[in-house]
């Protein structure tokens, strides 16, 4: 398969295929083909040879489907044109998080070329390596540590120096790569440019695992505040989102979703839309129903008018009683993360046992723009323009959905509205694919707001979490027990499971099976991917303690039930929920021990990086060491307080601590967050501006999730269907002052940075409410009603 053969139709605007291109090409109608010629990368042709080897597969999160560029070949990652311009190919995409800017910096740094000389192409199954999903705070670690894109760029630089050595007739160790050329260290006139050296040819070499990386001390591009190349096009209305993709002869589709969860199609009366202007076809596949028309407004009107007879829904558990349902429902899938097997004994011997339960609702990704995709399925070939976070997995799962071979499906990423996990991007891609297949022409589908919210996305997990510790006579923690209940249905579609999202399920494909398992087997290897293990315990599994804390009597047990709604990895999945419980509970225990919340945490932490962020945030906030609640606080009027929380994200993928200062109006229960102090350690900092952008956004999104967001439903269906029934904090809300301390660790591997802040916001605010008022709020979101209820309980106790 050549890069050319799957180029989109001529005339389609591909200027924003990558952030790196948008500035120079935005506003011009340029085809992919002419771009590739211009950049000199046309000569690079992928062959199907060189399937992913065993060694690479271990490092490689993608499946490496048929035809995927081999991750071991340098040419899969880097091409240099005769003009010296560098084209880099990556499987980690720009979804607004700024990763493309940082990846361009990485390539420019390792290849020793200016930032503006690198074009980054991401996530197109005809062009880019299979790096699985852009998710899980893994993009930075995947491409910045010593492998993949980073290793490719370092390999290319060394290869260019070798070529230069031959051409200049000088030993390689007397040469230096800089400014897109190889030159003599002693005689700058002896110099040859990359363009002359490689001149658009393939490198034809493997990635060299021993290629030397540039030390951070020599960085000139990484570590700087390089600006995002996509912004000029974004702010002037020139940027091409997936919503703007237009193909010749393109039609518009509209889906018709069931009126109730579990409802199935009895019959569809096609005559109800007969003769309506522009209507092309009514499409029914099992319980998937849609209409295709010439124009969007025609499709909308036809979809509204189409008479579909649905069976009754299967009914939903009561929203009001849902947390009891979650705790009681069977069967469950149980997982033990740690179990020292002495927890019951230690709790039995403890002077005091403290216990609290925390509640976290289903929440939405709630993307700003309803999801959209364009599909062109003709015969046995399909081209899908999709905002998916995983082009290679969706290629394979769409092939299953459409009954095609994966190698006949071409998925091209186009940016959608900010996603934060699994919004309706994959589902709408399947919607467009099914409708296009039915009419044999390109079809664009954009969901309605209600479809996006109630019939499109996979919600973030609900949780009930029991926390228990035992204290000895001196107020020291002797055991920590965490037990949680959550609910799961579906997931990302992966390579084979279109039924993991709503459209695939409606079209007759099953979601991944719920595998009941109880009791839980003992953990065989330590993993804290869900942050189910608190930071304060040892994490002892199989004889080695890989946790960040000191408490050795420890248990963390999770029960999952089958969810009534589709679920997926909403930003900081399970990690936010578990951390909310751990960090609030730690605060409760510290209060009981009449200890300062920072000092008390430090007693039980052993990991230097968690300790440093905790101290860093406290210092930034001028933290006054004293127990909570604030002895100055009054029981009426406005009360002010501060709270702290920290996390080792996924155990070792980013470290952060936050202090929140709040005011609570005790008459109304309204919480205002005044100031945030945040310390972050994500290893070496590639772009401080981009990192701060993620932190600011994560902090405020975390506030919105902590204060107002919750999915609601009635007996039959979801009732959160727009921005009035699913609340979010708008641009006008009172934004806290946010101060950030970035800890740079150039000697450490890169970790994730997009989810550290959001993980600890709810806990920091909850702890600040307690400090201000003495009232402990254990249920998200912290609505004024719930805060008032917590306040009245405190009064009753007093």
């Amino acid at each position: 398969m050549s890069r050319q053969s799957h180029a989109p139709a001529e005339g389609i605007q591909t200027a924003e295929t990558s952030g790196g291109l948008s500035r120079e090409l935005a506003g011009t109608s340029i085809s992919r083909r002419s771009f590739l010629v211009g950049a000199g990368a046309l000569v690079v042709v992928f062959s199907a040879k060189g399937q992913v080897g065993t060694v690479a597969a271990q490092e490689f999160e993608g499946g490496g489907g048929p035809g995927a560029p081999s991750p071991n070949e340098l040419d899969s990652w880097i091409a240099i044109g005769a003009d010296g311009k560098v084209t880099a190919y990556t499987g980690k995409e720009e979804i607004g998080q700024g990763i493309s800017t940082a990846q361009i910096q990485l390539v420019a740094e390792e290849l020793c070329v200016p930032f503006g000389q690198v074009n980054l192409i991401y996530c197109d199954t005809a062009l880019t390596p299979d790096q699985g999903i852009t998710s899980g705070s893994q993009s930075h670690p995947t491409n910045f540590n010593h492998r993949n894109l980073a290793l490719a760029a370092a390999t290319a630089r060394e290869a260019l120096v070798e070529l230069g050595s031959k051409r200049l007739g000088m030993p390689a160790d007397q040469l230096v790569a800089a400014g897109g050329a190889v030159s003599s260290k002693s005689d700058a006139s002896k110099k040859i440019s990359y363009g002359e050296l490689i001149s658009g040819r393939r490198f034809e070499i493997q990635l060299n695992p021993n290629a030397k990386r540039k030390p951070a001390s020599e960085w000139t591009v990484l570590g700087t505040e390089a600006w995002r190349p996509d912004l000029p096009a974004l702010v002037t209305g020139q940027f091409e989102f997936v919503h703007n993709v237009r193909l010749p002869g393109m039609l518009h589709g509209r889906v018709v979703r069931p009126p109730a969860v579990g409802a199935t199609v009895d019959s569809v009366d096609e005559s109800s839309v007969k003769g309506m202007p522009g209507v092309v076809k009514v499409v029914v596949k099992k319980n998937f129903v849609g209409v295709v028309a010439e124009k969007p407004w025609q499709a909308i009107q036809a979809a509204n008018k189409l008479r579909v007879s649905w069976s009754a829904g299967t009914g939903l558990p009561s929203h009001a009683d849902f947390y009891n349902y979650l705790r009681a429902e069977k069967p469950t899938r149980d997982t033990l993360l740690v179990n020292s097997k002495d927890v019951d004994e230690k709790l039995g011997q403890a002077a005091v046992v403290l216990k609290a339960t925390y509640y976290y609702p289903y929440q939405m990704h709630g993307s700003m723009g309803s999801s959209c995709a364009v599909a062109d399925v003709q015969g046995d070939k399909a081209t899908l323009y999709s905002p998916t976070q995983g082009v290679w997995p969706v290629r394979s799962s769409a092939a299953v959905l459409l009954g095609l071979k994966p190698e006949d499906v071409h998925v091209i990423f186009r940016r959608g509205s900010g996603c934060y996990g699994l919004n309706a991007a994959d589902t709408v891609t399947f919607d467009a694919a099914l409708l296009s297949q039915a009419v044999g022409k390109p079809v664009r589908v954009q969901l309605t707001r209600k479809e996006e919210m109630a019939w499109g996305e996979n919600y973030g997990f609900p949780f009930v979490m029991d926390e228990r510790v035992g204290l000895d006579g001196d107020g020291n923690i002797v055991a920590w027990d965490h037990e949680s209940w959550s609910a799961v249905l579906g997931n990302r579609p992966g390579y084979a499971t279109p039924g993991n999202v709503i459209t695939g399920s409606l079209a007759g494909f099953s979601p991944e099976a719920f595998m009941a398992r109880s009791p839980a087997p003992e953990a065989r290897a330590y993993s804290n991917n869900s942050n189910g293990v608190p930071s304060y315990v040892a994490g002892n599994v199989g004889g080695s303690a890989k946790g960040t804390g000191r408490i050795t009597s420890e248990r963390s047990l999770t029960h999952n039930i089958a969810s009534p709604f589709f679920t997926g990895p909403l930003r900081s999945p399970a990690r936010l929920q578990n951390t909310f419980a751990h960090e609030c509970f730690m605060d409760e225990v510290a209060a009981r021990a009449k200890a300062d919340p920072v000092a008390f945490r430090l007693r039980y932490l052993k990991d230097a990086r968690v300790i440093d962020v905790l101290k860093g945030a406290a210092e930034l906030a001028n933290w006054e060491a004293r127990p909570s609640p604030n002895p100055q606080s009054q029981r009426t009027g406005m009360a002010a307080g501060r709270g702290i929380a920290c996390v080792a994200y996924e155990g070792n993928n980013g470290f952060a601590a936050m202090v929140a200062e709040v005011q609570v109006d005790q008459a109304t229960g309204k919480v205002s967050v005044k100031r945030i102090f945040f310390a972050n350690d994500s290893g070496p900092i590639s772009n401080p501006n981009g990192l701060r952008n993620q932190i600011e956004g994560g902090t405020l999104q975390g506030m919105s999730r902590a204060l107002v967001e919750e999915v609601t439903w009635d007996e039959q269906k979801v009732t959160s269907i727009d921005w009035q029934s699913y609340r979010t904090l708008p641009l006008g809300f009172a934004i806290p002052e946010i101060q950030v301390k970035l800890i740079n660790r150039p000697d450490q591997p890169a970790t994730g940075a997009g989810e550290t802040a959001i993980t600890i916001v709810a806990a920091a605010i909850g702890n600040a409410i307690f400090d201000a008022t003495g009232a402990r709020i254990r249920q998200v979101p912290f609505t004024p009603e719930r805060v008032k209820a917590a306040l009245s309980q405190t009064l009753t106790r007093a």
Partner: protein
């Protein structure tokens, strides 16, 4: 269908469309403009905002027949990559975007407001933006960018 005459960013168009079509669809499908966006279709988020007679209008809930003959300005019409409007330039200088989907609504709402209230305080700006959503929560930078542009627009006058 009937012929509808519109002036968009100074350019006159005669379009054969259903007069009940929301203006947004005409702008993004018939005229292939990429600035105004479909966020909710309910006038709740601001992504579709355009300016007509100095007012920020939610084009997703405005039938095209209601704006016949009016001069419509979209994000494309206030500046270009080479000659950005002060608000657009401020958004770049403050690096005030994440996914960028909401940017149209934020800039167009801010422009309509600042044009009428060039000396608005930060609280007044915040109040004026209270019906606009950004789900990446780039609020800090966006408000800073609007304040920066206000300073520049104020100096220019």
């Amino acid at each position: 269908m009937s012929v509808i005459r519109l002036t968009v960013n100074g350019q006159a168009h005669a379009l054969d469309v259903d007069p009940t079509t929301p203006l947004l669809y005409v702008l993004s499908d018939d005229l292939a403009l990429k600035g105004p966006k479909f966020g909710c279709g309910l006038g709740q988020c601001g992504a579709c905002t355009v300016i007509i007679k100095g007012q920020a209008i939610r084009s997703c809930i405005t039938p095209v027949k209601a704006v016949v003959g009016a001069a419509i300005t979209t994000l494309e019409g206030i500046g270009t990559i080479d000659k950005p409007h002060p608000l657009q330039r401020a958004f770049i200088e403050e690096q005030a975007a994440q996914c960028g989907f909401c940017v149209n609504g934020v800039i167009m709402t801010a422009k309509a407001f600042l044009d009428k209230n060039p000396k608005a305080s930060e609280e007044e700006i915040q109040q004026a933006m209270s019906g606009v959503l950004c789900r990446c929560f780039t609020h800090v930078r966006m408000l800073r960018a609007i304040a920066r542009a206000r300073a520049e627009l104020g100096t220019a006058k």
